[in-house]
């Protein structure tokens, strides 16, 4: 069992890699669900870096999701740019926005910060709607081409599945690396106690902004992947509700653990596949499920998993 605990990531890799071929002709539906799951894992993990580690609340993370999606969408659909360049441009713009607003906004605390980030999300959405000549406005942006690199197009859904999950692994892996590094430790110090952190020479504002920029870049990456998969973008998918959903994934899975929010994303994105038949009851059910998690599992789903793991180890050690 201990071995299993250590090599779980190999299992995961094998599973991700072998899933489509072994289950033969993976349908567009299945790959679609898994692609959305992957995109939301990137979003949840990126927000976890900001909230779980740097301790900065954001109720507007979808703003960067939107920037990534729309920069990719506009540059490729309207100006025929290479998707790779568009993706990088999206990340650059997201990073720049995060950098620009980061210092003043992240100086705010708790609810004030929540309000400011929520406002940021609204501003981006209203701009997307307002700048119709550029973004297609509320009617949406059409005909975003499939993702491609020179010489290869990811127009097949299985190919895209691999691309998205490769990105997921990259983002999760690098997030874990950042979280475990001295940089991640510094964020934890800021999260714990900004005043104390400052007395050790930590320039809190600068570190918060760095975490924000990294988080925004990852969210933007998710946005670009979303744009090329959907082929059609509308502001409805980037509203505050989306931000709140990402926030919920964090707490559902277990904030500050990277893997937890990823798990939360998987759970929350697979849940509708089982609850859609409840239709009118869906809203109530989702609310109740979330309440139950928050009240009875304060460490989230991942906390439960690690709890089980610890118990199993304790038993096998005995």
């Amino acid at each position: 069992m201990r071995r299993l605990g250590r090599y779980w990531w190999i299992i995961l890799l094998l599973f991700i890699a072998l899933y489509p071929p072994t289950l033969g002709g993976m349908s567009a539906y299945k790959s679609g669900v898994l692609i959305f799951v992957g995109i939301y894992i990137i979003l949840a993990v990126s927000l976890d870096l900001l909230m779980g580690f740097a301790g900065q609340i954001s109720v507007g993370h979808a703003a960067f999701f939107a920037i990534g999606a729309y920069v990719s969408g506009i540059l490729t659909a309207k100006y025929g740019a290479s998707p790779v360049l568009a993706l990088i441009a999206g990340m650059a713009l997201s990073g720049a926005v995060a950098w620009g607003v980061g210092r003043p906004v992240l100086a705010l605390k708790e609810y004030y910060l929540a309000m400011a980030t929520l406002a940021l999300n609204e501003i981006i959405v209203t701009l997307i709607i307002g700048l119709q000549w550029l973004t297609g406005g509320a009617s949406g942006l059409r005909d975003v081409p499939a993702f491609s690199v020179p010489g290869f197009s990811f127009d097949n859904h299985v190919h895209y599945y691999y691309l998205v999950w490769a990105m997921v692994l990259l983002v999760v892996g690098s997030s874990v690396a950042v979280a475990r590094s001295p940089f991640g430790r510094t964020l934890i110090a800021i999260h714990s106690d900004e005043t104390a952190a400052k007395t050790f020479g930590i320039d809190c504002a600068r570190y918060k902004v760095r975490a924000y920029v990294l988080s925004a870049c990852y969210a933007s990456l998710a946005g670009s992947l979303f744009a090329h998969y959907m082929g059609f973008l509308a502001p409805d998918d980037f509203g505050v509700m989306t931000s709140i959903n990402i926030l919920v994934m964090l707490y559902l899975g277990g904030i500050g653990t990277i893997y937890g929010p990823a798990l939360g994303a998987v759970f929350l994105k697979l849940l509708p596949e089982f609850t859609y038949q409840f239709q009118d009851y869906e809203l109530l059910m989702n609310g109740i499920i979330l309440i139950v998690v928050l009240v009875f599992m304060p460490r989230g789903l991942f906390g439960i998993l690690t709890g089980i793991k610890e118990r199993v180890f304790a038993r096998s050690a005995r």
Binding site: R3, L18, Y29, G231
Partner: protein, 383 residues
């Protein structure tokens, strides 16, 4: 070695678990499955309700009459929450898991966009109902709602007849408003109408008198506001408050009992472009759609105890168009079905007589619309 074994065991068991998630794929091939994507929650949920009822009644009618080619129709409905992402997932599920022959529904332009994108990628026909304007590339998408063009030009036709030439636009911030604004600008010169001004408003705002006051300074003879439901009713109420006694044209989506309830008590002239289903009694016996409309209305009234409305009729037409396509092709092949729907000619429905072609995926004409207004708390035909 032991390590490898454990890893293998876990991977295999994971695959078994996901077997559940595959669901039951193999089912009896007998019924024709039609995918139905409809806003049952979210801000357009009230509309989804009418669409759902309409579709159910029509499917029942067809099945009671023996189905299509001896096979019954079966609806597979999903709630799109008025969100494109959700709609995309549902469309993919419908096609690859439920194995539908065609999709229909939507109701908002953005959801239509998402569904249309999936439909054309997967080459499965989709008969949508919304203000979404189709592009040439979308060869698998039909839109059997009256095009927004008609809903704008029909009242303009009426204005020209009545000598109204100064019209102001008050458009909601949103897809419908963008569409309505563009089309109104395009058609206004045809009917010798001057657009004196345009304002936007947020559909969730509690008050729009600011915009109305601004427009009032321009002395319009009528206001066109391409909006549906509560905001449309709010406009009528605000205009009454300000004593602006000029006609207000709202979108063709408002021909529903729900909207009637909202504005029944409001003075002023509200004009709603609509289909003939809203005026069953006034139809001439020679009207080609009379039979279809009357039969559907009767069945609807019998099942739900309320009169059929524009949305339910429109949805029934979508069912009928797909059924007709299936009848003609006698095949499950989605491409053939698309071709069949595309060649539908002189097919009477609640929205008018459909004449589809490879260049026209909407099928109806401006004359298929009528203008409604409200008199004594009831719908009345204006023109």
């Amino acid at each position: 070695m032991k390590k490898t074994l454990v890893v293998m065991a876990v991977v295999t068991s994971l695959f078994f678990c996901t077997g559940l998630f595959n669901g039951a794929q193999a089912q009896s091939k007998t019924p024709y499955k039609i995918g139905f994507i409809v806003p049952l929650t979210g801000y357009l949920s009230w509309l989804g309700e009418y669409m759902k009822k309409g579709a159910e009644v029509k499917v029942e009618m067809i099945n009671r009459a023996g189905g299509v080619n001896g096979r019954p129709l079966e609806l597979v409905s999903y709630d799109d929450q008025s969100l494109p992402e959700t709609a995309t997932r549902h469309a993919q599920r419908l096609i690859s898991r439920d194995g539908v022959v065609a999709m229909m529904g939507t109701g908002t332009a953005v959801v239509s966009g998402a569904v249309s994108s999936v439909a054309n990628k997967s080459k499965v026909p989709a008969v949508i109902q919304s203000g979404y304007a189709l592009s040439d590339k979308e060869t698998f998408t039909f839109n059997n709602a009256h095009p927004t063009d008609f809903a704008i030009s029909r009242p303009m036709m009426y204005f020209q007849k009545k000598g109204i030439s100064r019209v102001a636009l008050l458009m909601p911030i949103g897809p419908l408003g963008e569409l309505g604004s563009g089309i109104a600008r395009k058609h206004a010169p045809t009917y010798k109408i001057t657009l004196v001004g345009e304002e936007k408003f947020d559909v969730k705002a509690p008050d729009v008198t600011t915009q109305l006051a601004k427009l009032r300074t321009l002395n319009p003879q009528a206001i066109m506001a391409f909006t549906t439901g509560e905001p449309a009713a709010l406009l009528a109420r605000n205009m009454a408050q300000m004593g602006m006694n000029i006609p207000l044209v709202v979108s063709h989506g408002n021909a529903t009992p729900g909207f009637l309830k909202l504005v029944a008590q409001t003075p002023g002239t509200v004009i709603v472009p609509s289909g003939k289903i809203m005026a069953t009694e006034t139809l001439a016996d020679t009207d080609p759609v009379k039979k279809v409309v009357v039969e559907f209305s009767r069945a609807y009234q019998a099942k739900y105890g309320e009169p059929a409305n524009y949305y339910s009729g429109q949805q029934a037409d979508a069912v009928a168009l797909i059924a007709e396509g299936l009848r003609v092709t006698k095949s499950d092949d989605p491409v053939k079905l698309r071709d069949a729907i595309e060649n539908t000619k002189n097919f009477p429905g609640c929205n008018g007589v459909y004449n589809m072609s490879p260049t026209d995926h909407q099928g109806t004409r401006t004359e298929d619309m009528i203008l409604l207004t409200i008199k004594d708390g009831k719908w009345a035909v204006l023109d």
